[in-house]
Point group: C2
Chain length 491, copies 2
């Protein structure tokens, strides 16, 4: 008797990500090593996701100190902790009901944190106004996106809603859109131009999409996840004009706004550009921008909080956002307070300012050096090419796989890049992401790879990757050659 044998067909439609299968296998291997199993490596290095504490990068001391005092306010009296840490904790405790992180908050987030965020946005965008009422806190930027996508989703029987999506996209996005019952309509980023957006491709994709669904929004991440591309003002203007002309909602993931390191690159927010373009655009285009703790500076992915700012939000729609957020009850309070710290770092003169700045600069330096080092290393490998990156925390190198591997993958009914990742994990204990998880079409093979790791870990990782890659290519070459030889012999 299984009362669950009839599973909701909508749930059946959600694609199971090969990422979670690979992650499970990585955990198994780690467990086996702990239990004494012999492997040619001592530990698994997992750089498939953007949570770089995993590989030993350190959290920001100030953030952790303040949060720890908030959790255990007896530490307010602990003189070993800097004064600004204790003062900040005291201020944050005052905005928690009953002075405890154990109380629920409003489901759209704590009002005072929403205010802090809107002030930060306005400072960042050279004074463009931002209002706390338009800022909604959620358990992460993906979850915030889910709220909006649910709103625009249609129900069965109607024409399905589509979202024009920059591909490659964040690897968590395809199943999110499935879950919301929305079609991912890809527009391809231009790899040979460092993954830039192409206006003609946007128009092409929209035309195709209109033939099979009702496209209502366009999604982009800037800086690009996982591409590392940074749009300039002109490119952003083009996308805004496109969205305005086609009456599409603009969904912009700006999580990596704090990590532009490429020469000449600069983060400019979509909102800032929108307001530069005058009333025609700034009063009409509906824009939602997403940000989160899982950024390149803090990397507090496990604390779980993010926000979205909605520009030109219809008051009627605001009501439904609230209703949807209400069903989640409350966002973790540790995460919300961390958001407040993210948008209000220590300022000059604060006791923690210098050490905070030092930590941030160190992280940025490691990121920038690692990205350059790894890009050149990978680009020099046979069978691989890698675009230089300007921002973010990922590299996204292309794999040029021999036909033998592609055929083997077809036989095993798995994407060839996933097969590559499976073998790499088993042989060398390195877990990379497969580009097919990022919405890439079949036949396109890439790897996804977080480069924000301690430099010695990067070297270890690159060396394992090269060993595997060269052995694989050599073996395939040998076996293809021996097939040829055999063919000659038997002919």
């Amino acid at each position: 008797m299984s009362s669950l044998k009839h599973v909701n067909p909508r749930v059946k439609d959600i694609r199971a990500s090969s990422h979670s299968e690979l992650t499970k296998r990585a955990e198994q291997i780690t467990q086996e090593i702990t239990q004494g199993a012999l492997r040619p490596f001592k530990e698994v290095i997992d750089v498939s996701s953007g949570d770089f504490h995993r590989t030993g990068m350190k959290p920001l001391t100030f953030v952790r100190q303040v949060l720890c005092v908030c959790l255990y306010p007896e530490l307010l009296e602990n003189k070993d902790l800097p004064l600004d840490v204790r003062q900040r904790a005291q201020r944050l405790l005052q905005i928690c009901d009953g002075g405890s992180l154990g109380s629920y908050t409003a489901s759209a987030g704590m009002w005072r944190v929403r205010q802090s965020i809107s002030e930060f946005i306005s400072r960042r965008d050279a004074g463009v106004p931002s209002y706390a009422k338009d800022v909604f806190i959620s358990i992460g930027s993906q979850k915030a996106l889910m709220t909006i996508v649910k709103l625009i989703s249609s129900v069965e029987g109607q024409t399905r809603t589509g979202v024009l999506t920059a591909v490659p996209c964040p690897h968590t996005l395809p199943s999110l859109l499935d879950d919301a019952g929305v079609t991912l309509e890809p527009y391809l980023l231009m790899e040979d131009q460092g993954w830039a957006v192409d206006l003609e491709e946007l128009h092409r994709a929209l035309k195709v999409a209109r033939g099979r669904c009702n496209p209502r929004a366009v999604y982009i991440s800037n800086p690009g996840n996982p591409t590392g591309h940074v749009q300039d003002r002109k490119s952003i203007q083009e996308v805004i004009r496109f969205a305005a002309a086609e009456r599409l909602l603009l969904l912009v993931n700006e999580v990596y706004q704090d990590s532009v390191f490429g020469e000449g690159g600069e983060f400019i927010s979509y909102k800032k550009v929108l307001f530069e373009m005058g009333d025609e655009f700034s009063e009409g285009v509906e824009l939602v921008s997403f940000h989160s703790l899982s950024n390149a500076c803090m990397g507090e992915c496990g604390l779980r909080a993010g926000y979205m700012e909605f520009i030109n939000l219809d008051p009627g729609v605001e009501h439904f956002i609230s209703v949807l957020l209400d069903t989640d009850i409350s966002v973790p309070v540790t995460g919300q307070l961390a958001l407040d710290l993210m948008v209000n770092p220590p300022t000059p003169g604060d006791p923690s300012h210098d050490s905070y700045t030092k930590e941030v600069l160190l992280t940025r330096a490691i990121l920038s050096q690692n990205a350059q080092r790894a890009q050149k290393f990978l680009d020099d490998l046979p069978g691989m090419s890698c675009q230089p990156v300007m921002a973010g925390i990922y590299l996204f190198p292309r794999l040029h796989l021999p036909s033998g591997i592609i055929e083997q993958a077809e036989e095993l009914k798995v994407e060839a890049d996933v097969l590559y990742c499976q073998w790499l994990l088993e042989e060398q204990g390195v877990l990379l992401g497969a580009g097919s998880q990022n919405g890439e079409a079949a036949g396109n093979h890439h790897l996804r790879f977080c480069v924000l790791v301690p430099p010695e870990t990067l070297e270890d990782l690159l060396s394992r990757l090269r060993s595997f890659h060269l052995r694989l290519l050599g073996a395939i070459y040998d076996s293809e050659k021996s097939v040829e030889d055999a063919a000659i012999l038997t002919s």
Copy 2:
């Protein structure tokens, strides 16, 4: 131009809870007082939800100490903290990837925490086996429930799925079921029997439900939220036999398992009873049990974590649970570690054991005394009656409202209990929950009210409530009388 003007009809179907409107108003009033507005009260007392830190109840010191060390591991060296706190923190940090709470975890939760939970369940249930693979951690018990309800939900065009739901139910449940596209099919608890479950009522409700939807599950909370009822073994057996005979999935909210204080009452888990009933039941009935940090002992609602254990889970269904949990990416790590502490409190001999036990006993004593005190107090008020409670943290008194108020509510198109709560909030700064939020049918009027508050706050609250209540009844009586008088005069 509003690309969002066509909101998903499914989202439009989610009922907006009057609870969030009332909460918003309470926040406004608090803000106004902070800004100097004069009110007849100094602060708002909000006892409408189960987060009792809000009113000044204290968190468990051991829990907060361990979590604060986990967030800021430099404190591992701080000798002012008890040894077992630091040792526990060290063990928990070892199960975090990279030793940081900033790393993502598996989307079903950290494996070691799932193991801890299954061991706790097995200890609690006198050795009935429990397996970590059947335990799924989520951002709260409601979120876990949402996962299951989504699985059994049908899509448009098919017969809509129904869930037989004990009414009154938790106040967050109705909109959750709406969000999942599932019909709440009420079966009424027996108020005059202390809110007990009645088998005949279950059968009646099922018959009615079968006429209008496809009932696939039966939901109950035990101990009852918000009723405070505790089912005995016989009552649980009846519900299990009913679910087995009717092939319904059993969804049991057991969040208040740690707070049975009524004489002769005892918490017995549905799972334990199921296994006592023999293979016929224990190998067939599908049962999901929910628990969470938002319980009566810890009250760590703001940390956001809960779990469900699935008994007789079909392996095919397990896959879809994983897929759904994957779209949430990861549960907050502070919450997951708090779950581990919840199921592994300090044991005798540990430095923190005595103080921990003292804190727990104090909370229980306050809860029990407050519940008795408030129940008698309310039951003695004219126009109110209140069942004694055995467990949980709520009272759920019935309001016998004069027809004048009911007519006024009808005119204002609001439930009369909501109107009562609005007035009470404005006049006396007390925020209670309205029974209509708990799924009660129109015309039935109750109040919901968390009694786990500092005793002096309870006295303040009861006195404000009595003033308001008596004035209201008196005023209504007077106005009804004057209408009568006027009628006599004009006749």
